[in-house]
């Protein structure tokens, strides 16, 4: 029986010296066959399995993870959640995700610590101000909250920011999405894992997919794994930066390039920042975690990479920009730096739905921004796997758009750099 978490269980376990907690999910051996196999135990894979079981009643589902769940980008990101996109197709999808996040802790009975502390994108020139107004207009037309902040309002809200006229990056205003924020990334992964497991999904860690089995008609009949073959006719692939490698195993190519993206955490400080703040001019963004560390991210590394470390020039650019914009932080020490491999698509939008191989479906191309999309990614891939038709929100994001030319260019639309 699954333990239900509540204030009372926390209190009771405290009295018992915290010795009564049970593992939150099982570690079963792989069965010989499943109705659906999901490759990748990140947030997207686990959410897919959860919605397959909960929404569509499909419980013979396995999630195969080569390492440990959340060991990929879902456990390596900077946790920003927002829906400030430009095109209607993107706004609808990311806003759907944000709404699912707003009730996720309750739905999963797991505190994902979603904190709607808001996100401010700074405007560093009169030109940026024009763009921020355009963006706010686009967001409102799509039913997403957006406010324009004056320099005085920003100075009040973010006192550590250098607002002086001679600042290296002078501030002319900013775009605020109030309902944006952060969540605890591990908790999102673990919450979905626990809820999927409770519905009968097998989460199989240390199980790497090494190949696909295909029938005479080309359709998938199973997967080869480091723990033996598993038969299935429906496969969902949600492996973030490794999508091209899985596609190669299945004999096709994707419009994806893999890059390293880095993040940084400082030593814990007293509260100095109560929002997520982004500088499009430098690509650098920052928030403060509940433990006090500043969580900092920047742009992509300079060349394609599968090395999970990250290169020095980007470190210098990111930290130089932080020191220039927040002089008070110049002497703060970093605790950690790391990188994850992200799958970058030419139009900066995800690829959801059918692949060229029958029975094989994709959830990839989220690049630098797929943490915020975990609930909607899982919803869309589960719908595709269960009904064999694309989810309504996913239709514009099919792989086909690279043939038809109907790209959703958010790099141009909302100015996300990658």
């Amino acid at each position: 029986m699954k333990m239900r978490y509540s204030a009372w269980t926390v209190f009771k376990q405290g009295l018992g010296g915290q010795r009564g907690w049970k593992p939150a999910w099982r570690s079963p051996d792989p069965k010989p066959d499943y109705e659906v196999v999901v490759i990748g135990g990140g947030g997207h894979g686990l959410a897919t399995a959860y919605y397959l079981a909960r929404t569509y009643g499909i419980r013979r589902v396995a999630v195969l993870e080569k390492g440990w769940i959340g060991g990929g980008n879902s456990g390596r990101n900077t946790t920003a959640i927002r829906s400030n996109y430009y095109y209607r197709a993107s706004a609808r999808m990311y806003e759907h995700s944000l709404k699912l996040y707003e009730r996720l802790s309750k739905e999963l009975n797991y505190n994902v610590m979603f904190s709607q502390r808001g996100m401010i994108s700074l405007a560093h020139s009169p030109h940026d101000v024009e763009l921020a107004h355009r963006q706010a207009g686009a967001m409102r037309l799509n039913g997403v909250d957006a406010d324009f902040l004056t320099p005085a309002e920003i100075a009040r809200r973010v006192p550590i920011l250098d607002m002086s006229p001679e600042a290296r990056f002078p501030v002319f205003g900013g775009l605020l999405q109030k309902r944006a924020g952060t969540a605890r990334h591990d908790a999102v992964v673990w919450g979905y894992a626990r809820a999927a497991d409770a519905l009968g999904v097998d989460i199989i860690q240390n199980c790497e997919v090494t190949g696909f089995r295909r029938g005479a008609d080309g359709a998938v009949t199973g997967v080869e794994t480091s723990r033996g073959p598993i038969a299935t006719t429906r496969i969902g692939v949600a492996v973030a930066g490794h999508s091209s490698r899985l596609a190669e195993m299945a004999g096709f190519r994707l419009p994806i390039t893999s890059y390293a993206l880095q993040a940084f955490v400082s030593e814990p400080l007293k509260p100095v920042l109560d929002t997520v703040i982004l500088s499009p001019a430098t690509g650098v963004y920052m928030s403060q975690s509940d433990k006090g560390g500043l969580v900092i991210g920047g742009g992509l590394d300079l060349y394609p990479s599968y090395a999970q470390r990250g290169n020095m020039p980007v470190i210098r650019n990111v930290l130089g920009a932080v020191a220039a914009q927040y002089p008070a932080l110049g002497r703060v020490r970093l605790l950690r730096q790391w990188a994850g491999i992200v799958d970058v698509v030419p139009d900066s939008s995800p690829i959801i739905g059918a692949s060229p191989v029958p029975g094989l479906f994709l959830d990839c191309g989220w690049g630098t921004g797929g943490f915020k999309a975990i609930p909607v990614g899982g919803t869309m891939l589960a719908h595709q796997l269960a009904t064999l038709t694309p989810h309504e929100l996913a239709e514009p994001f099919s792989l086909e758009r690279f043939t038809t030319g109907a790209l959703i260019d958010e790099a141009a639309g909302s100015g996300i750099a990658h």
């Binding site: 994806i256 390039t257 290169n311 043939t403």
Partner: protein, 98 residues
């Protein structure tokens, strides 16, 4: 930090360069015989391997010329630098360019 040997300028720091992605992409043709799917694949599909990658680089902050690099995307080791019009070098079992 990579040091890249521009064929014209010699060894320089990686920040002087820009990576232009996969090299040796062949444009399909003749155009009137190309269907949309083939054209779409030509425009957008990438090899994106984990390991040996043949890519174009630009010496952006130097001579501003393009050239080819054979590089391992997992280790970042550069195996060969060669001219745009040269054929790709063979890579031996030890991972060096021949």
């Amino acid at each position: 930090m990579l040091q890249i040997s521009c064929p014209w300028c010699g060894p320089r720091d990686e920040i002087e360069f820009r990576c232009g992605g996969q090299s040796h992409i062949i444009r399909p043709g003749p155009p009137e015989e190309i269907d949309d799917a083939t054209w779409g694949r030509y425009l957008s599909e990438k090899t994106n391997p984990r390991g040996d990658h043949l890519e174009r680089w630009l010496h952006a902050a130097g001579c501003r010329r393009w050239f080819n690099v054979a590089r391992d995307t997992a280790t970042h080791r550069i195996r060969a630098v060669y001219h745009m019009i040269e054929a790709a070098p063979a890579i031996d079992d030890e991972g060096s360019a021949r």
